[in-house]
Amino acid sequence: MPGESSGQPAGNPVALTEGVAEAPPASESEVQEAAAWLQEIVAAVAEAVVGHDDAIRLAVACLLSGGHLLVEDVPGVGKTTLARALAAAIGAQWQRVQCTPDLLPTDLTGVHVPVGELGATARRVELRRGPLFAEVVMVDELNRASPRTQAALLEAMEERQITLDGVTYPLPRPFFVVATQNPDDFEGTYPLPESQLDRFLFRLHLGFPSVDAEMALLRHGGSTFGSLPEAVVIEPVTVPAELLRIASIAARVYLAPALRRYLVELAGATRSEPRLHPGVSPRALLGLAAAARVWAAVQGRNYVLPDDLLELVEPTLAHRLGLGVIVDRAEVSALLDEIVRAVPVPFPER
């Protein structure tokens, strides 16, 4: 029912990056302020997720860019903790979905339930909200869900809305999906289709923490095994509305024309590489640009450097390129690296 969504802010799927071209570049002070906030968020999350500072920063960047995150790693390295902690740090609602092959789309979206007396001529229909109506949604082992369920997630991720029985419900803002999958266990899975892979802004590998980090982890959370996510109490650093404001600042970080051209050249290079047959999609380029803006803002800069782009190339592009004959992750990364190293970085000339 439309009335259901009246209390929600009108959802705009691209609101986070809207109006970048017209708006003046963010000033240095604005970005400094945003960076301070972001550092606090990162620090808060890092309390719970020990030893993955880079991944946290990327996750925060992904959140602010309005993208979604795909975490691909073996179990037990803190994927769920990361999502949970992130949601807590920004004071957002958090939902977790464990995907199984028999998971139905309505299990994600929710269902219309008739209410009122049985046998009445006109019965109201009420939405029983699914887990997707949260601001941060953790979708565990996404590749175990059936393709039908994955498709339901598809619409929610890209359109930021849910359509049930012809009624469209906007999702809250921010809306951040953290999906995980285990890369080494393919048995009984439904590999993610290309379209869905392309909808994830970043793909991360948490990896095992370093020795120091692991020791710190043991010291920190060793006594609370079994209830690890709940045990770590994270005070919210900010609220979602404030996060949107920070995101709007980050979206106005200046991206120099030379870098725009560089991005295009980079995309062209991947497209001309026969082994990465389709190459990078324009959506991926947009995502990379948006992420680079946030990445610069995280570091307190109001302009993007080529270094930002280079750092984000791997998490942004690698999962979108392994579509041809090469599926090995390491090989795709090596190829990507080789391509990146062949495209000259814009540099001032005399």
Binding site: P24, S272, L305, D328, R350
Partner: protein
């Protein structure tokens, strides 16, 4: 690390990271000198040289023919070309940036372009991109750059070569990959799985199944983790020169490229040449491009046979297949059985030649240069302030034009030019002074003080009023206000009110003139100044330069119809050419880095997009420039022609029926300034006299001419003459060939020569039949020299019946008539009137053998503008004014008595030629007057003298009359006077009438103005010319300096951007230099920055490998560089 410059005046600037760079404050100069070095190739084009030759020829022709217009035109052409050459130095430096090749590499024969952007003072608002086709007919690795630019002026007269960029770009023209005929050797066949995957076999892990490929192929495929980079096929290229022809070599290279080309589904290959190149396994496109680059520069080189190489190289032996690319000559008789070796034979004509469609028409014999067509340029974004700027410019031009036109109209002559120039200068200068004063008076440190427009207006008005009053003061002392003698200026200032009243400047009808001109010039000047303070100095220079140019042309030169035409044509031409854009050729050198072969180059002409604001600047500069050229031409042309001399009174050619012109502008001035000339004739006479040749009765439009009167044979006999004395004059003609014979007084009888004619009306002795008297003739005249007494003169009346010749006055300007009436106002007797006119001229005009010429009535100019002339102007002006006042007057031409050589013999040279007016009185005949105040060059005979009886009380306010101060009409003639005068040869008073008996007194010394080293001669001209030229030069340099400053700013701006505009992607010049120097420091240690490496990454790479401090500072430099290059533009630029 401290990066320093060798120049002085350094400035310390802190960059992020505590990096200290000593900046050179004179970087603009450094840049300018760099630009100057780049401009070493400035030269005239063939067209320019031809134009100069033409100009010289035309000038010479003009001088020979005596045509001012022709000489002016010629000099204008020369000045124009030279000016173009000079102005070429002020063309802004243009830099080429962002050179890129598109695509980055290309197959031989395929089209490719080099794109770049031009920045510079003309393009600072928006860069202009250009693209050049690259010659790809030859494979190889080429270095594109340095780029040079040939820039020519709009007329194409001179060309400036400058280096626009030292950047070199590497460009690969790789061989065209060819397929073997029939394609049967296509290894890695279609559908065959790649080397990274293999079909599923028992024992393979299920988790290694590659589902995507399995689905596509229909059977299971598993990944092979570690087999991906092992080359299974080797391509061995035979490069030995012995087996190749040029065609087969090209085809071999192409085949090799085609065979190693990575393809979908193909496995890694390996390229080996007989010359030693081994590519290693080729798995990626990136490696393939390296192989292409290597192949591109391959040339036939000796090496072992392929078969021997296979034996030698283990890598080749491990390969499953070895494909040898060679020619039939390279195939061995027997193949090696133990290796799976195949031969690809490059035969027949190279495909390069046989596939014209693929090569874009190059193969069919068309000239590849025909492909070098300029690519349409991207238009720059429109400039918002253009409309405002154009309105301002038009407003200024209109204001200046109105001021000039109004002044011209109001002054009704050409006397307006000088006040206009002066007022404009004053108006332009005053605001600066007042501004400086206001700053001094204002509170220190206050920046709120703005140049006071009111004070500026006041300055302009006051300056204009003062100078207009000075110049329009009726002519005394005849100098324009900018003078080389301050005394007359002082006197003029003192007498300013008197002069103003005397000349009617303050008359009611003149008041609007003065007020209007003053306000107009003041407004124009103030407007210009106001705009100057708005940073539009170039525009402000336009009205000022227009004024100066017009002033120079009008005041000094001879503005003729030709000049006007040339001026107009030049303007139209310049504007038309400028509107169409100048011609600039950019050339990027293209040199092959490896292998042989010389470099080639391609060039293209760029038509710049029209930028209206810059366009107007150029038009203004061109207008100023051409105006200056033409002014110079006018001045020089006039100077040159007048130096060669116009024409003497044509004594030789004039006949009795012809008219002898006394042109007040050009006549016998050259003869007058000639010292030591040939002796015309000698006279032996007891009394010196003016030796008259002819008289001029008729006042025509060009001056006084002789009337064609009846000549009768001379008949001797005494004529009634109330007062006179008879003398015998013996003339001996030496160098004079004239139809007229000199005579002093009225001849009574002539001996020694016969058959002469006599014109009683004009009292001229004439040789009949138009035959000049032969030199050497000697004749004696018994003449009567009239000597009217002072009383007779004072009481003389005009004749009742005037002679039959026309003594009338043509229509004269009002102010001449007014002046003539003013001079004799209050006088009743004819003699008094004549004396008044004579004294007025002697007092108010200056003797000058080179009077400035100009358009209009020359006598009017003489009386009101130039106030400078010699005997012709004086006598003609006297005759004119006297006729206006009703006195029958004529002009006589003859000589002064000449030099007393011995006894009573006088020698007459051309320098003694003279003219004087004569007035006809009843009973006294023609009485001579002498309005000419002095004599020209030192050493010439000073003939100036006035009859004492003709010295009236009315004249001579400032100049003492010559002659005896006392009236001595009662004295009898003293025959010994000439002998007495022999001691003072040069100071002979006229012996007409009463001969002075007193000894020569100091009063006989001619007036001081004529005794002083003549200011009126060419000295005046030179001074004026120098002043004008200096003004023009200063103006030009001011304008050019502004351009230079803009250029310097733009050169820096090419990197940083001027005042934030176009800063996008800009890096401070000094920062870039610091980075380069830092890189040069660390480069030997860790290598140069790779093209795909950012500055930060490079700095990180340096960490741990260079000293800590250096690494830290390199890091800071990189950060600063990134901020400058990638940072957002300034807020102002964004807002705009």
């Amino acid at each position: 690390m401290t990066v320093t410059w060798p120049e002085t005046q350094r400035q310390r600037e802190r960059l992020p990271g505590d990096l200290i760079i000593e900046l050179d404050k004179r970087k603009k100069q450094v840049e300018a000198s760099r630009a100057a070095r780049g401009r070493r190739g400035a030269a005239l084009t063939g067209r320019g040289r031809a134009a100069i030759a033409l100009g010289v020829a035309v000038t010479g022709a003009g001088l020979v023919v005596g045509s001012v217009e022709l000489a002016q035109g010629g000099i204008a052409v020369v000045a124009l070309v030279s000016g173009c050459r000079v102005m070429a130095w002020f063309r802004g430096r243009v830099s080429v940036i962002n050179l890129r090749t598109q695509p980055p590499m290309v197959a031989v024969g395929m089209p490719a372009q080099l794109t770049g952007e031009l920045t510079g003072w003309r393009h600072r608002a928006s860069r202009v991109s250009f693209s050049l086709p690259i010659d790809t007919r030859e494979r190889g690795t080429f270095a594109l750059g340095e780029s040079m630019m040939w820039r020519s002026d709009p007329l194409g007269l001179s060309v400036v070569r400058q280096r626009t960029s030292r950047v070199r770009r590497r460009f690969l023209v790789h061989p065209l990959p060819l397929s073997p005929a029939g394609g049967r050797l296509a290894f890695g066949t279609e559908g065959e799985p790649s080397a990274a995957l293999k079909p599923f076999e028992d024992g393979d892990e299920l988790r290694r199944v590659h589902w995507t490929t399995s689905e596509r192929l229909g059977h299971w495929m598993v990944q092979m983790p570690d087999t991906s980079l092992r080359a299974t096929t080797a391509v061995l290229v035979d490069l030995r020169p012995a087996v190749h022809t040029p065609d087969s070599f090209e085809r071999t290279i192409g085949l090799a490229a085609g065979l190693v080309q990575p393809r979908q589904g193909g496995g890694p290959t390996r390229l080996v040449t007989t010359a030693g190149l081994d590519s290693g396994p080729l798995a990626t496109s990136a490696r393939f491009s390296e192989v292409l680059a290597a192949l591109a520069s391959e040339r036939p080189r000796p090496g072992p046979p392929p078969e021997a190489l296979i034996e030698r190289l283990p890598a080749l032996r491990r390969c499953e297949r070895v494909i040898i690319v060679t020619t039939p000559a390279g195939c061995p008789v027997t193949a090696r059985p133990r290796q799976r070796t195949e031969y690809v034979v490059a035969e027949g004509p190279a495909q390069l030649r046989s596939n014209p469609a693929r090569l874009g028409g190059l193969a069919d014999g068309t000239d590849p240069r025909s492909l070098l067509q300029p690519v349409p340029l991207r238009s720059p974004p429109p400039l918002p302030p253009v409309a405002a700027g154009a309105i301002g410019v038009i407003g200024r031009l209109i204001a200046s034009g109105v001021a000039i036109a109004a002044l011209g109209l109001l002054f009704m002559g050409d006397g307006w030019v000088v006040p206009l120039v002066a007022a404009a200068l004053a108006g332009h200068g005053m605001p600066f002074l007042t501004d400086a004063g206001a700053r001094l008076l204002s509170r220190r440190g206050s920046r709120r003080v703005r140049p006071s427009v009111t004070l500026g207006v006041l300055g302009g008005v006051v300056g204009t009023a003062v100078i207009a009053g000075l110049v329009a003061n009726g002519g005394h002392p005849g100098h324009p206000p900018i003078i080389n003698d301050f005394a007359p200026l002082g006197r003029a200032l003192w007498r300013l009110p008197v002069n103003l009243r005397l000349t009617g400047v303050l008359a009611p009808e003149r008041i609007p003139l003065v007020v209007g001109s003053t306000v107009a010039v003041g407004l124009a000047a103030t407007l210009a100044e106001f705009l100057t303070r708005r940073g539009k100095g170039v525009w402000a220079a336009v009205p000022a330069s227009l004024v100066v140019v017009f002033g120079a042309t009008e005041g000094v030169g001879h503005l003729s119809v030709t000049t006007c035409g040339v001026l107009a044509a030049s303007m139209v031409l310049a504007i038309g050419l400028l509107a169409g854009g100048s011609r600039e050729i950019i050339q990027v050198s293209r040199q092959q880095q490896t292998g042989g072969g010389g470099g080639t180059s391609s060039s293209v002409r760029l038509g710049y997009p029209r930028d209206r604001r810059l366009h107007w600047i150029r038009v203004a500069a061109a207008v100023t420039f051409f105006g200056a050229c033409l002014a110079l031409a006018g001045w020089l042309g006039n100077l040159a022609v007048s130096a060669t001399g116009g024409g003497l009174v044509s004594l030789r050619t004039a006949g009795p029926g012809g008219l002898v012109h006394i042109d007040p502008t050009v006549s016998f001035a050259p003869q007058l300034s000639e010292t030591g000339g040939p002796v015309l004739f000698t006279v032996r006479s007891p009394v010196p006299d003016y030796w008259q040749l002819l008289t001029l009765d008729v006042l025509g439009p060009a001056g006084f001419v002789s009337a064609s009167s009846a000549f009768t044979p001379f008949a001797s006999g005494p004529q009634p003459m109330p007062n006179g004395r008879r003398v015998v004059e013996v003339f001996h003609l030496v160098g004079l060939a004239s139809p007229w014979l000199p005579v002093g007084g009225i001849p009574l009888s002539i001996s020694g020569i016969s058959g002469l004619d006599w014109a009683p009306e004009s009292e001229t002795l004439f040789v009949p039949d138009q035959e000049p008297a032969a030199p050497g003739a000697t004749y004696a005249i018994d003449a009567l020299q009239p000597m009217p007494s002072a009383a007779a003169l004072a009481g003389a009346t005009l004749v009742a019946d005037p002679p039959p010749v026309d003594l009338g006055v043509p229509t004269e300007p009002d102010r001449v008539v007014r002046l003539a009436h003013q001079v004799v106002a209050g006088l009743t007797t004819p003699f008094a009137k004549a004396v008044a006119i004579q004294n007025y001229l002697r007092a108010h005009e200056t003797y000058n053998l080179n009077p400035p010429t100009g358009p209009g009535n020359q006598l009017e100019r003489f009386l009101f503008v130039t106030h400078a002339g010699y005997c012709q102007q004086f006598s003609a002006a006297f005759a004119l004014m006297a006729r206006i006042d009703g006195l029958p007057t004529r002009v006589a031409v003859g000589t002064t008595p000449g030099q007393l050589v011995q006894g009573d013999t006088y020698q007459v040279t051309p320098a003694d030629i003279h003219s004087w007016p004569e007035v006809l009185f009843a009973g006294l005949g023609w009485v001579r007057f002498e309005p000419t105040p002095g004599r020209g060059p030192p050493g010439n005979t000073n003939y100036t003298g006035i009859l004492p009886s003709q010295v009236g009380a009315a004249g001579g306010t400032s100049v003492a009359p010559v002659g005896v101060p006392t009236h001595s009409s009662g004295n009898s003639p003293d025959p010994s006077a000439p002998h007495g005068e022999a001691t003072l040869p040069g100071l002979v008073p006229l012996p007409i009438g009463v001969t002075p008996t007193t000894a020569p007194s100091p009063a006989r010394v001619p007036p001081g103005s004529s005794r002083a080293p003549e200011p009126g001669t060419s000295v005046d001209f030179v001074v004026w010319g120098a002043v004008g030229a200096a003004l023009l030069l200063v103006l030009l340099f001011l304008v050019a300096g502004r351009f230079r400053r803009r250029v310097a700013r733009a050169v820096i701006g090419g990197i940083r951007g001027p005042k934030g505009a176009g800063r996008e992607g800009g890096v401070p010049y000094e920062l870039l230099r610091a980075w380069e120097q830092a890189c040069a420091t660390v480069g030997p240690l860790i290598g140069e920055r790779r093209s795909a490496e950012t500055a930060n990454a490079y700095a990180r790479r340096c960490q741990g490998r260079v000293p800590l401090e250096t690494a830290r500072q390199l890091d800071a430099l990189a950060t600063a560089l990134g901020r400058a290059f990638f940072g957002p533009p300034p807020v102002s630029a964004v807002v705009r």
